[in-house]
Symmetry: C2
Subunit: 307 residues, 2 copies
């Protein structure tokens, strides 16, 4: 049963710690710390960073200073800085500040969408369309995120076909790069494979990003399965910042340094300097409450010697 | 790049928490708690349990009551109870108490072997041979463990060829089931694949067990890779008991419930009842210091609903 698989030779990592990570942290993070963190990330070799979200400060107090953070960070010309935007208002701010890209999101399911955005998936599509239009007019690329792509805690399993239906509608709006979010950590290698199969069948040109969580321990196993199926674009969060939104003290986002460490061992190029990345994880450890789930931060790389 | 892989339809899990797990815990675990834990494990559907080790109480104080634990536990006739033994003296005790099997161990490398057993690999083979002989005479199966099979913290990477040399010598002594231990968490999917390739080439009849650690986050990714290559026999520890021997607060053994949860989702049969397994993890959580690394213990299975 020796089954030979090949992997992409190069992988793009989009760092979501400054937005997705910080947004979910309990500790209030100062504007200065956010900027310092972003500037450190910009020097690691990372090429894609989701820097902030332009959302209502009432809905997401952690992002109330998003404009200040954006203005204060030093933009490395080699880095693509995106902003998460829920609607036209957010998209207009992203255009105004000169974001390199925008990320718009919707859930695969009403169960989560209604609780997260207080509207149905159907209604949310109006926001997605508005953001897509604003991006197109301004010449700024818009990527999409589909939450609960591997399961919805309220609805249970989500058929890949349903997730794909949402992706098709996004693609119809001109969004041809989509991130599939394992929002509440229900993804497993099997679900990853099933979803990719369906997506490849119906949207062969789609640029697929995988946004995994490690809530149930399968974060890197899911990434391995995706790599085997040719996926070369992943979201992750330095230190593993951003816990599960539904389980206290549970891990959330896949840890960037743990993912990069595994990829480096597979000789898959990410362009990222692991030592510099670990430095940024230490910065993050300084401003969050409690301990970050990062394994590498504790154990160091596999080539570390005792003592 | 759609690469279809198949998995074993059934997987054997050997629970090592009562021995490997408890042995590495800082908290002193009472004889009563050990017995209660073993009896609970015996009722989960697990078929293989490494119950104790018969070692010098000076070397491993946690196992000083191994005879009492063995005598006190209720043996489920459907469970195979093994004991870890380092040498002839331990093997004789295992025979005396009526162990179903014995596990003898050696490192792939002198770097670790000398520090762990205070002798070279070469010298340790005399102990392995003695245990094999005692097992054969008593009609008790002896399995082997090769530590540091994916890297030695003192020597660095360990060539699969070297690990295989040790396996060949063990097989020559009549030990035809060998566990490959990722003792200090240096295993990665790539190293797993490389080792399995070499083993299959030189020892096609060898029964391979994989003993992974999750020190650097790749525990389940390593298991997935091994499954893809047809491996159907794994060690794991309930709750993830037993930290890394070289890194403070780092995860050690792969978590049984996290592994079983992933396998169940893949429709791979383990015979284990996940709810009962989680009960045993709660028992373990009650007698260890600090928090267990188990993800499932926090998040519950993927079919759990919020609230």
């Amino acid at each position: 049963m020796a089954q030979r698989v090949t992997y992409p030779s190069r992988v793009r990592i989009r760092e979501v710690g400054p937005r997705d990570g910080i947004q979910s942290e309990k500790a209030r993070v100062s504007t200065e710390d956010k900027i310092r963190f972003l500037d450190a990330l910009s020097a690691t070799g990372l090429r894609y960073i989701e820097a902030v979200s332009f959302v209502s400060p009432r809905a997401v107090p952690q992002m109330a200073d998003a404009r200040e953070v954006w203005a204060g960070m030093s933009r490395n010309p080699q880095v693509f800085y995106s902003a998460l935007v829920p609607n036209a208002r957010g998209a207009e701010v992203a255009v105004e500040v000169g974001a390199d890209g925008m990320q718009v999101f919707i859930s695969a399911t009403d169960g989560y969408n209604v609780r997260n955005l207080r509207k149905t998936v159907q209604d949310s599509f109006e926001d997605v369309a508005a953001v897509a239009r604003i991006g197109a007019d301004a010449g700024i690329p818009v990527e999409g995120t589909i939450s609960c792509a591997f399961g919805d805690p309220y609805e249970g399993d989500v058929e890949p076909r349903r997730v794909c239906d949402v992706a098709v509608r996004m693609a119809d709006l001109g969004i041809d790069a989509i991130s599939f979010g394992d929002t509440t950590g229900m993804g497993t290698p099997r679900r990853v494979e099933e979803l990719i199969d369906v997506l490849r069948g119906r949207l062969p040109e789609l640029e697929i990003n995988m946004h995994f969580h490690d809530t149930r321990g399968t974060g890197l196993a899911n990434a391995l399965k995706a790599l085997e199926l040719g996926i070369d674009y992943f979201d992750s969060s330095v230190g593993g910042m951003g816990g599960s939104p539904y389980v206290a003290n549970a891990s959330g986002n896949v840890v960037t340094e743990d993912l990069v460490h595994m990829l480096a061992d597979m000789e898959i190029d990410t362009g990222i300097d692991l030592d510099l990345l670990l430095e940024t994880a230490r910065i993050a450890a300084g401003f969050v409450d409690g301990e970050l789930p990062s394994k590498l931060l504790r154990a160091g790389p596999r080539w570390r010697r005792p003592g």
